[in-house]
């Protein structure tokens, strides 16, 4: 359960935490998997992946020991 979901991404997926899906090895693959699995995410202006508390480029490796976060458009302030 090393993937955390926040904000509207949590609401769309219906869960605040999930296991990194089998076979996913990069941030970009995770994003593609999420958009395919929860099509409502495609309506968001942006969907970012953070790995170990920093925004990750699509090519960044992800694994079972990383702290991964699914970040919909932020709206603080």
């Amino acid at each position: 359960m090393n993937v955390m979901l926040f904000g509207v991404a949590k609401d769309i997926a219906g869960t605040a935490r999930m296991q990194l899906p089998e076979g996913i090895t990069t941030a970009g693959e995770l994003k593609a998997w999420l958009l395919a699995t929860y099509p409502a995410l495609q309506q968001l202006k942006s969907l970012m992946i953070a790995v170990n508390k920093a925004y990750a480029a699509d090519g960044q490796a992800v694994g079972a020991t990383d702290e991964i976060a699914v970040i919909p458009p932020v709206s603080g302030g």
Partner: protein, 133 residues
């Protein structure tokens, strides 16, 4: 540059003012974002702020590093509230002090603009008509 970063249930303007105070600094600029009682004409009952706290603090530190690189700012405080917030309550405070005032405005505006763009905090709006967005 001295930096105060905070993400807590309750934040106050005063603690930011206290932190940035310095007899060496002539200019202080403080931005406060408060919960408005309406959004695009619809009455708002409350907001709920959620943060990915550790990453949010890390992103706030990056903003502080950017500010220190760009301007001669002496002190910077960035505070963000989480949880339920009612209209009129403080959601965010960004405060800077510097020897001269022009850069204090620039640095403060940069910090709040960047905070709103990059710091992982989300709000839910509870409208008076019952909708939640």
């Amino acid at each position: 540059m001295d930096v105060l970063l905070k993400i807590e249930t309750d934040i106050t303007i005063q603690e930011a003012l206290d932190f940035i105070h310095s007899p060496a600094c002539g200019g202080e600029v403080v931005f406060t974002g408060k919960v408005r009682n309406d959004t695009k004409g619809r009455a708002v009952d409350k907001l709920f702020y959620e943060a990915y706290k550790e990453m949010a603090l890390s992103e706030m530190q990056k903003i502080a590093d950017d500010v220190a690189r760009q301007w001669d700012i002496k002190k910077l405080a960035m505070l963000h509230a989480v949880g339920d917030k009612l209209p009129g309550e403080v959601a965010v405070v960004v405060a800077v002090s510097s020897v001269h005032r022009g850069i204090a405005f620039d640095a403060c505006e940069y910090a709040i603009d960047t905070l709103k763009a990059t710091v992982p905090i989300w709000k839910k709006e509870f409208f008076s008509d019952g909708e939640v967005v």
